[in-house]
Each structure stands twice: as structure tokens, then as C-alpha cells.
């Protein structure tokens, strides 16, 4: 039975800027289950990263959650039998102690641009060690009571930390990890820096990994290694993954369930096989048809989506997708805002084709 780890409930995020208010995220709801992968897809600017940042309570200024809540079912890292705590992430002080424990230790995040997120003056070993010192604990038996061991947890030692760092570097496919552990970020290639960041994120064995376009800048051979590593870790430590990408191949391979976003709105959500084989929303369909498929050279031309993503200050009336939609129904789609409805069990769509209007 799927057990929820993180529930994103009707979340709205606004940015108040000079020209007005941008509704970057406009009513998004999904649940990340323990040990499962949810894929978030959509074109750039549709609000994927902003949603993820809201879940870490680290929205850039002037962004704020204006509506909705993000519920984290927090389990003890040491004792899984302890009752879970219910934490409302949106209510936490963004600089408070609790969120700092959660970030990095319980939720880890991998971004797309690795250079800006690695401190240049530390070696890879130090960077991984820093994360370990904060968030990884080693169990020690301090006594025995009947058949129960009494456990305590201590921080990792320097030696252990170096060993773990080397092991992680090797796992993410960095050649000569014994040497690379002492390298500085600028001495590594872009692909290697990205892998170091992944090593840092995974070294603390988080409950949830937010992977925001983690392999977009990497070659397919490295991407394959990283995806395998994520799956391996997912099995061994029951890690959930929020996988944000615009690569439909990657999401098909990784995700159990998929959320499709367009202009801050969630337009479809269903099981991965359903999304690929029975997509309901015209945007999802168009997206799937617009990608070339390796090995299958079918038509000469790709089906492209006409026009461009609209300007956030001049959003189209009715359904925001209507000016680009191949199923556009005049008098309806440009007038009525579609509701988000469950068209079949666990398959949600926001489109007037499925409403009686």
C-alpha cells in the first residue's frame, strides 16, 4: 500500500514583481509516496522548479506560497517504529532548525547547474564530508536489555567520511575516486561536477530526493549510470524521488506516476503507462507527438505545438492552453476555465473536453 511522504495540496506560488503578480504555480496537488518516483514534466517556465523549491521551503524572493499546504509525514531517521510527525512545510521558518534538518538530511536536492552550487574552495571530499557530518549518523550499541540492543547514534569520523566519499564518487562513476576526492570543483569537467553534486545528495541517504533536471547536461552514457544509481539507492534505502525533467525518455524510465504542468497549472496526472498510452489532455498528447523517437523513424515531420508559451502577464482567457490547442472549441475553451477532474480512477485532467459544459 502506498504510504504518503509528502502531500502537495492545492499549492499556489506568487511572485510580486514590478510589472505585476506572476502566478508561477497555480493550484498544484500531488502526493509523493514513500519509495516511489513521481515525474514532473512540462516546458521551461511552467513552474516545476518553483513547486520543488516550495517543498523545501526555499523559494527565492519575492516568491511566496499564497494558498495551499505542503504536508510532510516525517519519520525518525533512527527509529522507523516511532510514530510519524506531521509537518506543514509551508508554516516553517525558512531559516529555522527543523527545516535545516530536513533539507539535506531528509530531503536532498540536485539542481541543473552544478557549478553555482558547489563551493569552489573545498575539495570534493570536504564537500561530501560536510554533508555527512551534518546529516549522517552511525549506530552504536551502548548496551543490551534482554534481546533488545540499546542504540545510540554518533557522527561519522573523519576517516569514515573520507571512505564514504570515495565510495560515493565511485558509485556515481567518477574515474580514479581515490585521487578525485582531493580535487577542487574547477578541476573537474562539467559532467563530473554534476556527479559530485549527486554524490553529495545521495551520501546522506535522504528520504526524498528532489532531482531537478539532474541529467540534462550529461551525456547519455553517464545519464544511464546516474539513473541506475538512483534506482539502486531507492531500493536499498526506500527513497522517494521527485523527478523533474523535460526528457520524456527519462521520465518513462524512472517514474511510476507523472504530473504534466503547463503555465503553472497541473493539466494531467496519471500512472506513467496511462500518460504514455492513453494521454487525455491535448497538451500531453501534443508533447508526446513532438519528440522524435529513437529507432522508430515514422513520419518525415514532427507534430509540433503551434505558437509559444504565453506571457505570464497576459494569460489567455478560459483554458490557458486554448490558443495552441489542436482540440480548441470556440466559445467554450476561450471562455470557461476548465476544472481539474478525475476522469477515471487515479487519472486527473484539466480540460473542457472531459466536462459537460
Amino acid at each position: 500500500m502506498a504510504e504518503p511522504l509528502l502531500e502537495i495540496k492545492d499549492v499556489h506560488v506568487e511572485f510580486e514583481v514590478r510589472d505585476g503578480i506572476v502566478h508561477a504555480v497555480d493550484g498544484v496537488s500531488y502526493t509523493v509516496n514513500r519509495g516511489e518516483t513521481i515525474g514532473i514534466i512540462g516546458e521551461s517556465g511552467c513552474g516545476k522548479s518553483v513547486t520543488a523549491k516550495a517543498a523545501m521551503q526555499m523559494l527565492p524572493k519575492p516568491g511566496k506560497v499564497s494558498q495551499g499546504e505542503i504536508i510532510y509525514h516525517r519519520r525518525s531517521k533512527f527509529d522507523p517504529s516511532k510514530p510519524q510527525e506531521v509537518v506543514n512545510i509551508t508554516q516553517l521558518d525558512p531559516d529555522g532548525e527543523l527545516i535545516r534538518h530536513i533539507r539535506g538530511g531528509e530531503f536532498a536536492m540536485i539542481f541543473q547547474e552544478p557549478m553555482s552550487s558547489l563551493t569552489p574552495v573545498y575539495t570534493t571530499g570536504t564537500l561530501i564530508g560536510e554533508a555527512l557530518a551534518l546529516h549522517r549518523w552511525v549506530p552504536v550499541t551502548v548496551g543490551e536489555q534482554m534481546s533488545n540492543k540499546i542504540m545510540q547514534y554518533r557522527h561519522v569520523t573523519k576517516e569514515e567520511s573520507r571512505e564514504i566519499a570515495i565510495e560515493m564518487l565511485q558509485k556515481v562513476g567518477i574515474p580514479k575516486p581515490h585521487e578525485r576526492v582531493d580535487a577542487y570543483p574547477h578541476q573537474l569537467s562539467g559532467g563530473q561536477r554534476q556527479r559530485v553534486m549527486i554524490a553529495i545528495a545521495l551520501s546522506c541517504e535522504p528520504f526524498m530526493l528532489i532531482a531537478d533536471e539532474p541529467t540534462t547536461a550529461l551525456d547519455v552514457s553517464i545519464e544511464a549510470q546516474i539513473l541506475d544509481l538512483m534506482r539502486e539507492l531507492q531500493q536499498s534505502v526506500e527513497m522517494s524521488i521527485m523527478f523533474i525533467t523535460h526528457n520524456l525518455g527519462v521520465v518513462a524510465e524512472m517514474a511510476k506516476e507523472i504530473v504534466v504542468m503547463y503555465m503553472g497549472k497541473q493539466v494531467e496526472k496519471a500512472d506513467t503507462v496511462k500518460v504514455f498510452y492513453e494521454p487525455k489532455h491535448p497538451y500531453t498528447r501534443a508533447l508526446l507527438q513532438s519528440i522524435p523517437k529513437v529507432g522508430r523513424r515514422t513520419s518525415e515531420r514532427l507534430a509540433s505545438i503551434k505558437g509559444m508559451v504565453p506571457d505570464p502577464f497576459h494569460l489567455p482567457s478560459g483554458c490557458v492552453f486554448h490558443p495552441r490547442c489542436p482540440s480548441f472549441m470556440p466559445g467554450k475553451c476561450d471562455v470557461i476555465k476548465p476544472k481539474y477532474i478525475e476522469v477515471e480512477p487515479d487519472h486527473w485532467v484539466r480540460c473542457l473536453l472531459y466536462e459537460d459544459v
Binding site: 516546458e43 498510452y277 523517437k293 515531420r301 507534430a303 505545438i305
Partner: protein
């Protein structure tokens, strides 16, 4: 002038034995201590009106090979024959070695050879208006003036799906996909025969990527253009290319028609690369070949076949001898010692 070779069937560009080594220097005297063999004995050709895709992991030499052919870099060795009528006195086409041309001649030949870059944001000068960007090549070549120039720019913009009103705007006022269209309009401005496209859609969203690929295909059939299409996305390359060359550490591992290469690869590197591409089909059962280790260092490549340390089929000969790049089947070239006997899987 140029050494002449016979004009064969409809080959437009014929590159032979191309090498580009970048010197590695050290110390105050900048003594040369070694070379990055970025392109190391590469042979390929492009026919008129066709697209040759160039794929391979980053750093394998795709950009360097393109830039060397068009003389943005000076070649270390090799020849690049280009079919043109620009230099003949009797107006006949001939094969001219681009590497023999002098400065004036290169400037002249640039009319027929054009480029599009990956990053539509950084490749356009932010202080130039769309009009300036698109007309600049024509100004350099002294081709059009005044109202005629303006007309040409407008028609180029319309041809790539932009509007007349865009002519006085600046790059930052456009989206990534629109900027790429500005770059394409500029590349078309001199009526080229061939366009080198270096990762032209890699930075674009899928829907914009599809629009751009369709545009490139339309332009190709309208103007009988040839493309060298460099990209790391194997599905995009298969879609747009008639033929594909797979590069590995400065060398071409395999070159063949798109379908032959993807469905019946002859080189183990091609097979492994294809297997690694995530397929947009959740029911696809992947049998992924994980390549061990990293791409070899082009300043210190392994002995024998450069791919041998990562190849699961490597035998003794692979560790010692360089495999010959040969035509194993008609129009299907490969550089692997074991290509005749191996049964490889395509996608």
C-alpha cells in the same frame, strides 16, 4: 591554386584524413609538452541536399571537426574538398580544397558555407538589432543596400516564422526558440549551399525543438541545402539525418545511413550508446549496456582501438592495433577489428 580532384556523383563536401591537434604548453617559455588530439584522422563526406548527423559524447571532437573544416581553426592535417563554381574561370563546378584557400578566397567561400550555433542567447550580439544581425553577412560581402536590404531581411524573417515588426528589436526581447530563428535567418542570408549546425536545438524546449527541426527540414527542401548536424541527442539526430557519423575520442567509429546505423550498428560503441538512450516508452524493456569508466582523454588516448578499455568485445588485437576505417557494406563505414563477426543490437 587548389589541388583538384574529380567531381564525384553529388558529393558536396569531402573531408579526408582531417586532424586537429591543440598544443598543450607549460612553463614560462610555453614549451609544447603534448597535444590534445581533438580530431585525429577523420574522413567523411556530405552529398548535396542531405543531412549528415555527427554524434558522440561531449569532448569527442564534433565542434572542433566542424570548425576546422570551415577554417575557423587551422587544420593540423587533411583535406576538405568543397564542390563550388566560385573559383573556376569557365563557371564549371570543381572540387576545391578549402585548406588551400587564401584569406580573400575564404571570405568568398563563406557565402556558400554557413553556421548555426547551439546557444541562441550567447551567439547573438546583444547590442545589435535583428536587422543588424541578419544583414551583417550581406554587408560584409557588399551584397545589398538600402530598401533592397530591408526587403531581403524581412523576407528572411518571414521565411523562418518571425514577423516584419521584429526587425528593430534586440535579442533579449525574444524567447530561446525565436533567437534560434534569428540565427537561422542570418545563416540563410547569403544563400548558402551547406550549413554547419552545432547543437542547434539542444537548448530548446521540446515543442520549440520540433518547430525548429521542421523549419530546418523545410528550408532544406526549398533551397536544396546540405546540413552537417552536430548534436548529442541521438533521437533528434536520427530524425533529421540521412546519414550519421558516430565520433569517439577524435575519430569516427561508424558512419552509415540513419536507419542502417540505428537498426544494425556495426560498432560496439554505437551499440552501447544506443542502448543508453532512455526510450519514451514505459513498457520498453531496456537491456542497457553500461560502459565502464569514462571517455578517454584525447591528450593521452589508449593504445590500439581508443574504445577498447570500455568495450565488452575487446580482444588482444584491439589493445595493440588501430582498426582501419573501412566500407564494410555499401555506404556503411566502420572502424572496429571485429565488425565482420559481431552480431550487434540496434534500437
Amino acid at each position: 591554386m587548389a589541388e583538384k580532384i574529380p567531381v564525384t556523383d553529388n558529393v558536396l563536401l569531402d573531408v579526408r584524413g582531417l586532424k586537429k591537434y591543440f598544443p598543450i604548453t607549460s612553463g614560462l617559455l610555453r614549451r609544447v609538452t603534448g597535444y590534445v588530439k581533438a580530431v585525429d584522422d577523420v574522413t567523411f563526406f556530405v552529398r548535396e541536399g542531405e543531412t549528415l548527423g555527427l554524434v558522440g559524447e561531449s569532448g569527442c571532437g564534433k565542434t572542433t571537426a566542424s570548425r576546422t573544416v570551415i577554417r575557423l581553426y587551422e587544420a593540423t592535417a587533411g583535406e576538405a574538398f568543397f564542390r563550388t563554381d566560385l573559383f573556376s574561370t569557365d563557371g564549371k563546378v570543381e572540387m576545391v580544397n578549402l585548406f588551400d584557400l587564401d584569406k580573400e578566397q575564404i571570405k568568398k567561400v563563406r557565402r556558400q558555407i554557413s553556421m548555426i550555433f547551439q546557444d541562441p542567447i550567447n551567439s547573438l550580439n546583444p547590442r545589435m538589432s535583428v536587422f543588424d544581425i541578419v544583414s551583417e553577412p550581406m554587408v560584409i560581402h557588399g551584397l545589398r543596400k538600402g530598401p533592397e536590404m530591408e526587403e531581403t531581411v524581412v523576407s528572411l524573417l518571414e521565411r523562418v516564422g518571425l514577423r516584419k515588426e521584429h526587425i528593430r528589436r534586440y535579442p533579449h526581447e525574444f524567447s530561446g526558440g525565436q533567437r534560434q530563428r534569428i540565427g537561422i535567418a542570418r545563416a540563410l542570408s547569403l544563400n548558402p549551399r551547406i550549413i554547419f549546425c552545432d547543437e542547434p536545438v539542444s537548448a530548446l524546449d521540446v515543442s520549440i525543438q520540433a518547430q525548429t527541426l521542421n523549419l530546418l527540414q523545410d528550408l532544406q527542401s526549398d533551397f536544396n541545402l546540405s546540413y552537417i548536424f552536430v548534436a548529442h541527442d541521438l533521437s533528434v539526430v536520427q530524425h533529421i539525418s540521412d546519414r550519421v557519423a558516430v565520433m569517439y575520442v577524435g575519430k569516427i567509429a561508424e558512419m552509415a545511413g540513419s536507419d542502417a546505423l540505428y537498426n544494425n550498428p556495426l560498432h560496439p560503441y554505437t551499440e552501447a550508446l544506443m542502448s543508453a538512450v532512455p526510450k519514451p516508452d514505459p513498457k520498453y524493456e531496456s537491456e542497457r549496456i553500461i560502459m565502464q569508466g569514462d571517455v578517454a582523454d584525447p591528450s593521452n588516448p589508449p593504445s590500439g582501438c581508443y574504445f577498447h578499455p570500455r568495450c565488452r568485445y575487446a580482444t588482444d588485437i584491439c589493445r595493440t592495433a588501430t582498426p582501419e576505417f573501412r566500407e564494410l557494406k555499401p555506404d556503411h563505414f566502420v572502424a572496429c577489428h571485429r565488425a565482420e563477426e559481431l552480431q550487434l543490437k540496434g534500437v
